[in-house]
Subunit: 114 residues, 2 copies
């Protein structure tokens, strides 16, 4: 599967050609991470069925799990009302976070109780 | 409640002084929206216990529900491993989206079934 140019053009890419992607687990709806996609990584995500992001720090494609084995299989991709954010529902293998935590949001709490 | 300057400085604000905030419902974990906060709107969110964002299009503070009445009461704020994204768990009153949809991500589907 592949998006058309018209579908890609309909998204509101930012000044760097990126859109934020929120990744949520299909098992219990935990939000696992937020990353960024460019046109190519979004096409690869859809074509391969596994998440591929764009690393802003390394300025390159980042196939989730390429080194860790902790891949994310895409079940659904929703677009928000302004077409400037994506919500990707995944079935995850292993930890999403490079720290070894399941979710990148397990890192710290500003408000509330753990 | 109020964050210290050190807590605010520990967050990785982008070149515009903003951080993306994912808003998730505490009732069923639906992701409702993604918006941006600056230092002032984050402090106000914590001080008032209701979400306050920074509108990039209007370049001003945006008290969620100020006109619609659809406020979001903060239950938890988590910070990710890079300190450059927030996950805000809320108890919501009414629709999160200006379109009247419950979630801004109800707008369109790129992959998967509704």
């Amino acid at each position: 599967m592949k998006l058309s140019d018209a579908q890609l053009d309909a998204l509101n890419w930012n000044e760097h050609g990126l859109i934020p992607a929120i990744v949520q687990s299909s098992s219990d709806a935990r939000v696992l991470m937020m990353a960024w996609v460019n046109r190519e990584s979004l096409q690869l995500t859809i074509a391969t069925g596994e998440t591929v992001f764009f690393s802003r720090s390394r300025q390159e494609l980042w196939r989730k799990g390429a080194t860790s084995g902790n891949t994310q299989t895409v079940e659904r991709i929703e677009v928000d009302c302004d077409s400037d954010a994506l919500l990707i529902t995944v079935s995850e293998a292993g930890a999403a976070c490079h720290t070894g935590s399941r979710s990148c949001f397990d890192a710290a709490l500003l408000v509330g109780e753990a």
